[in-house]
């Protein structure tokens, strides 16, 4: 059975698109913190824990929220819903913040709420908690977005029937530089059963992943 991408989110240069439609862009925004807060407010996401997340958590959470809010992912068993993400900086953004709290011996106050985010896969935990997802998950680190790796990994999960739906893509934050690309992948039969949405499903493979992610570069 073939898999299809039935929805996707793209965040790049403080601009946010969902299924190819521009959702958010403000020219005067200069920092990641201002951007992500403005996007959160605009989209009226009510989740107080959002403010406690690190930058990677916030970016992944918002990207998944905008992607999944129109998808009926609860129709899949939680144990058969997966999340496979990747980036190049791992949790370096938060590792730096943690280092700031411990590098001065005279003022040594490590922050527990910063420290808990010094792993990249914590963002997967945030998404899973929010959506009740309990299936396979992985966070892969590579120099740049490796569409072959993601397509191969997720296709393998589908072929071994470990997932029926899977969120996958790229979540990268370092300082004010951020980039997110998330795709929701489902089996062909499930796609046929869903009502037509704002985005025509495309086959799930390395080529389409690359095309959707890099559409702003063209």
């Amino acid at each position: 059975m073939r898999q299809f991408i039935t929805a996707y989110t793209l965040i790049d240069g403080f601009k946010c698109m969902v299924n190819g439609r521009l959702l958010f862009y403000q020219e005067n925004i200069l920092t990641f913190a201002d951007f992500i807060k403005a996007l959160y407010k605009q989209e009226q996401v009510n989740y107080p824990k959002f403010y406690k997340m690190d930058a990677l958590g916030k970016l992944g959470f918002i990207a998944s929220e905008l992607l999944l809010r129109n998808k009926d992912i609860k129709s899949y068993p939680p144990e058969l819903t997966g999340v496979v993400l990747s980036n190049s900086s791992s949790s370096l953004d938060t590792d730096i913040a943690h280092n700031e709290t411990i590098r001065n011996r005279e003022h040594y106050f490590p922050s527990p709420s910063v420290f808990v985010y010094t792993l990249p896969n914590i963002v997967i935990g945030e998404i899973c908690i929010r959506n009740g997802i309990k299936g396979e998950n992985a966070f892969l680190v590579s120099e740049s977005f490796n569409s072959e790796l993601i397509a191969g990994y997720v296709t393998d999960l589908f072929s071994r029937e470990l997932v029926k739906g899977c969120l996958c893509g790229w979540i990268e934050v370092l300082g004010n530089r951020c980039e997110a690309f998330l795709a929701w992948v489902e089996n062909q039969a499930d796609v046929a059963e869903t009502k037509p949405g704002p985005f025509n499903p495309v086959p799930f493979d390395a080529e389409h992943l690359k095309l959707l992610k890099n559409q702003n570069d063209r």
Partner: protein, 84 residues
């Protein structure tokens, strides 16, 4: 005491990133955990760090935490009694 309570409210909001909450929203006698502000276990650790960083108070026995961090008022009372 009231001055310390107001100061503590601001410090707790900042330390715990309670973005949408203002000092006047916090009842100094309401429980900090469970209901009320809905704080979690990581927040509890942050409050321990706050006491040490801002007031030089180290909690030696973790069992005391439940009583000390029951509310903003109980925190203020503990700080007043133990500040170095």
């Amino acid at each position: 005491m009231e001055e310390l309570i107001e100061k503590l409210k601001k410090e707790v909001i900042e330390q715990l990133n309670l973005e949408d909450i203002k000092p006047e929203d916090i009842n100094p006698d309401s429980p900090l955990f469970g209901e009320g502000l809905g704080l979690d276990s990581i927040d509890a650790l942050e409050l321990i760090v706050l006491l040490e960083k801002n007031y030089g108070i180290k909690i030696e026995d973790p069992k005391d935490g439940k009583k000390i961090f029951f509310s903003i008022r109980s925190m203020a009372e503990y700080i007043t009694a133990n500040k170095k």
